[in-house]
C-alpha cells in the first residue's frame, strides 16, 4: 500500500516538471477545458435547448464525436495483437502507449455521452444495483458495460506494467496476459456494440443495415492508428522515446488495408442503395447530393471521400508510406476524413429525413462546439499526463530511487525537440526527488 502511495506521489512530482513547451501546452489545454466547463454549466442550467438538437435530430455533434472516439479507442488493439500475441518486438516496446490512448479516448467517450443527456446528474441510474441498468434489452446498457470493461482492462494492464517497471520488477506475465487477451475481444466489442446502437433501430433505415458493424470496425482501424501515428511521430520528435521505423511502417500498412475495406464496404452500401433506388435512398441522397434543397453535409462528405481515397493511395504506395512528410499528410487526411465520415456523416443522415419524412437541417450550436472542444482538450490533457509518466518509465528515466522510497527522475524535461543526431541532446542533470 505504501508503495502505491509513493508511486503516486512520485508521478505527481513528475507531471509538475517539464519544458516551457510542456507548460504552455498544458496551460492551453486547461484554458480550453475551462471554456468547455463554462459551456457545460450553461447547458446544465438551461437544458439541451442551448444545443441545436431537436426531436427530429435528437443526437448530434456530441454523439458524432463519441462515435468517432470509440473508434480511436478500439484501435489500441492494433498494437496489442502484434505486441502480445505475436511478441513482435518493435511494437511491444510502445504497446502500452496505445493502451493509454484507449484510456484517454474512453474518458472522452464517457464525457461526450454525459453532456448529451438531459439529466447528467442522474448518471448513477446506469450503475447496476445502485440504479437500474436495463441489461440485456438496451444496447445502450450493453455499451455502458463494454466501454467500462474496456476502460478497466486497459487501465489495469497499463498501470500494472508501468507500476512494476517503476519498481524495477519484471511484470508478471501470467497476470497480465489473460487481461491482454481479454482486451482484444473487448476492443472489438466496444465497436460492435456501438454500431449495434444505431444498427438496432428499425425506424432508421440509414443505419439499419448489417454492413454497419464491419464498416465501423474498418474505419476504426483507420482513424485510431492515424491518430496514434501522429502522436508517435510527435513523441519521437519531442521526447527521448525511441520508436522504430519498422513499427510505424507496419501500422501504416495495416491502415492501408483497413482503408481499403472501409471504402469497399461503403461502396457496397452505396451500390445497394442507389441501384435498388427505394425510399431508403433518401438519407444517402441527403448526404451525398442533398435532398429537396437541403445539402449542409454534401461538401463535407465529398471532402471526406477525397481525403480517404488520397490517404489510401499514400499508404498503399511504399515510397509515400516511408516518407515521413507524406505519411503525416496521409494520417491527417485519414483522421479528418474518418472524423467527418464516421462522425456527422454517419449520425446526422440517420435522422434526415426523419420518420415522418420531415427535414430538419442540423448544425452544432456554439455551445456544442465549445463543449466539444473542452472535451477534446480534456482527452488530450489526460493523454499528456499519462504520457508524461509512461514515457520516462519506459525510457528508464523515472523509477524508484535507491532508497526504495523516493523517486528518481532522470528526465526533467518533457516536450523538447530532439535532434536526429544521437548524443547532441541536452541531457538534464539527474535530480533526485525529495521524499
Amino acid at each position: 500500500m505504501k508503495n502505491i502511495w509513493n508511486f503516486f506521489a512520485g508521478t505527481l512530482l513528475l507531471i509538475s516538471k517539464g519544458s516551457k513547451a510542456y507548460y504552455c501546452w498544458v496551460l492551453l489545454l486547461l484554458v480550453l477545458m475551462a471554456i468547455g466547463a463554462s459551456a457545460f454549466l450553461r447547458q446544465f442550467d438551461q437544458g439541451l435547448i442551448v444545443t441545436n438538437m431537436q426531436d427530429q435530430v435528437s443526437w448530434g455533434f456530441y454523439i458524432s464525436n463519441f462515435t468517432f472516439m470509440v473508434g480511436v479507442a478500439a484501435a489500441a488493439v492494433l498494437l496489442v495483437i502484434p505486441a502480445y500475441v505475436y511478441e513482435w518486438g518493435p511494437i511491444k516496446e510502445f504497446a502500452v502507449l496505445g493502451e493509454l490512448l484507449a484510456v484517454s479516448a474512453i474518458v472522452m467517450c464517457m464525457l461526450f455521452v454525459t453532456v448529451d443527456i438531459g439529466h447528467p446528474e442522474r448518471f448513477w441510474h446506469l450503475i447496476p444495483k445502485l440504479g437500474r441498468l436495463n441489461f440485456p434489452q438496451s444496447l445502450l446498457a450493453w455499451d455502458v458495460v463494454v466501454l467500462n470493461t474496456y476502460l478497466a482492462l486497459n487501465l489495469t494492464i497499463s498501470i500494472y506494467i508501468l507500476y512494476n517497471l517503476y519498481y524495477k520488477r519484471e511484470p508478471n506475465h501470467n497476470f497480465y496476459t489473460p487481461l491482454v487477451l481479454l482486451s482484444i475481444p473487448s476492443a472489438i466489442s466496444i465497436h460492435t456494440v456501438t454500431a449495434f446502437l444505431y444498427n438496432g433501430l428499425g425506424a432508421r433505415p440509414f443505419w439499419n443495415s448489417s454492413i454497419l458493424v464491419p464498416r465501423f470496425l474498418a474505419s476504426a482501424f483507420c482513424s485510431g492508428p492515424a491518430f496514434m501515428l501522429l502522436i508517435f511521430l510527435l513523441v519521437r520528435k519531442y521526447t527521448k522515446f525511441k520508436i522504430k521505423d519498422e513499427a510505424i511502417q507496419k501500422v501504416a500498412e495495416i491502415m492501408a488495408y483497413a482503408m481499403f475495406i472501409n471504402l469497399l464496404l461503403l461502396g457496397a452500401e452505396i451500390f445497394k442503395e442507389y441501384y435498388t433506388d427505394s425510399i431508403h435512398l433518401n438519407s444517402f441522397q441527403y448526404l451525398f447530393q442533398g435532398l429537396h434543397g437541403h445539402s449542409a453535409l454534401v461538401p463535407y462528405i465529398w471532402t471526406a471521400m477525397a481525403f480517404n481515397v488520397t490517404a489510401f493511395f499514400l499508404f498503399l504506395v511504399p515510397s509515400t508510406r516511408k516518407n515521413t512528410i507524406t505519411l503525416v499528410i496521409g494520417c491527417v487526411l485519414v483522421f479528418v476524413g474518418v472524423y467527418i465520415e464516421k462522425g456527422m456523416g454517419l449520425v446526422i443522415p440517420g435522422f434526415i429525413p426523419d420518420t415522418l419524412h420531415e427535414i430538419y437541417e442540423y448544425s452544432p450550436s456554439n455551445t456544442e462546439l465549445m463543449l466539444a472542444m473542452g472535451i477534446w482538450a480534456t482527452g488530450l490533457f489526460v493523454y499528456t499526463m499519462l504520457l508524461r509518466v509512461a514515457i520516462p518509465i519506459l525510457n528508464g528515466d523515472f523509477h524508484v530511487a535507491d532508497d526504495g522510497v523516493s523517486s528518481y527522475i532522470g528526465d526533467d524535461l518533457f516536450i523538447v525537440r530532439q535532434d536526429d543526431a544521437e548524443g547532441e541532446t541536452v541531457v538534464a542533470e539527474p535530480v533526485p526527488a525529495r521524499e
Binding site: D55, Q56, S58, S138, T355
Partner: protein
C-alpha cells in the same frame, strides 16, 4: 507465445466470460401480459371524420402541461393535400395546435405554398399520437428502464428516473416521443393515464366534436370500439416494423406514415 497457446487461452477466456451471461434470465413478455389481461387500451382514429380543427391538440397540451408555444406535442394532426397534377403536400404547422386556418401549405421557415383551388385533388386530415405498441421499440432501448408498458397496455415514461438520453425518441418509428423542454426528460402521450384511471375519457377524445378519436378496451369483445376494430377495415401505421401498434385507423391512405 505460440499460436496454439494463444488459441487455448482465447478459449479459456471466452469460456470464463460466458458464465455470468448464463446467469441472466429473460423475462417472458407473455407472462407479464397474462398477469393482468382484463384491460388493454386501444385507440381508434376515424380519419374520415377529422376536419383539422386541432381542438384535440389544444386540449392535450393544456391537460398535460406541455408548453403551448414550444415545438413539441404529444398529439398532432397532419394535413395531406394531393394536387391533380400528382404532387403531394403534407404539413402540420405547430402540430395543428391552432387548427388549419390557411389553405396554403406550410413549408416551414416562414415559407408557404399556394395551391390553386381547382388543382386540389383529394385532401384529408390525419390525427397522430403514440400508438402504444404491443411490442414497443422505445421501451426496448431505454438504458435505465425508465419507460415501460403498463399492464393495461399504456406506454409510460418515469419522469423521475429518465436520464434524458434521447435514445427512445430516435427508436420510435412514429415520431411520437419528444424531449420535454422544461423537465428535460423524454415525454409522450400517456392516453391520459390519470384520466383513464379516474374513469374519464382522455383529453383529446373528450375534445373531439366529430368523434374522430375514440378509445376502447381491446380485451373486451363487447366494447363498441373493439367491435369496430374487429369488424371494420382498419389499418395501423407502419406495421412493417413489428411494433404491433395499438392505434387503429379508419380511412388510412398509403402515403400516411
Amino acid at each position: 507465445m505460440e499460436r496454439r497457446d494463444f488459441l487455448k487461452k482465447c478459449i479459456m477466456v471466452i469460456a470464463g466470460a460466458s458464465v455470468p451471461l448464463s446467469a441472466l434470465t429473460l423475462v417472458d413478455p407473455k407472462k407479464v401480459l397474462a398477469a393482468n389481461p382484463s384491460i388493454q387500451w386501444a385507440f381508434l382514429v376515424d380519419t374520415t371524420k377529422c376536419v383539422g380543427c386541432g381542438f384535440c391538440v389544444k386540449a392535450c397540451k393544456t391537460e398535460n402541461d406541455i408548453p403551448l408555444n414550444a415545438n413539441v406535442t404529444r398529439t398532432w394532426v397532419e394535413r395531406y393535400v394531393y394536387t391533380k397534377d400528382d404532387r403531394r403536400y403534407v404539413d402540420s404547422p405547430k402540430g395543428a395546435l391552432d387548427g388549419y386556418t390557411d389553405a396554403r401549405i406550410d413549408l416551414g421557415k416562414g415559407e408557404f405554398k399556394e395551391i390553386d383551388k381547382d388543382n386540389v385533388g383529394k385532401a384529408f386530415f390525419v390525427p397522430k399520437l403514440c400508438n402504444h405498441c404491443a411490442s414497443p421499440a422505445c421501451t426496448q432501448v431505454c438504458p435505465v428502464g425508465a419507460t415501460y408498458k403498463a399492464d393495461n397496455g399504456v406506454v409510460l415514461v418515469d419522469r423521475k428516473w429518465c436520464i434524458g438520453c434521447g435514445y427512445c425518441i430516435m427508436a420510435c418509428p412514429y415520431a411520437a416521443r419528444f424531449f420535454h423542454p422544461v423537465l428535460k426528460v423524454a415525454d409522450k402521450c400517456t392516453f391520459c393515464y390519470h384520466r383513464l384511471s379516474k374513469g374519464l375519457d382522455s383529453a383529446c377524445v373528450n375534445a373531439c366534436p366529430f368523434g374522430a378519436r375514440k378509445m376502447g378496451n381491446i380485451h373486451d369483445k363487447n366494447d363498441p370500439i373493439t367491435q369496430i376494430i374487429m369488424n371494420e377495415r382498419v389499418g395501423v401505421l407502419k406495421d412493417e416494423f413489428g411494433t404491433k401498434p395499438q392505434a387503429f385507423y379508419i380511412g388510412l391512405a398509403q402515403e400516411v406514415r
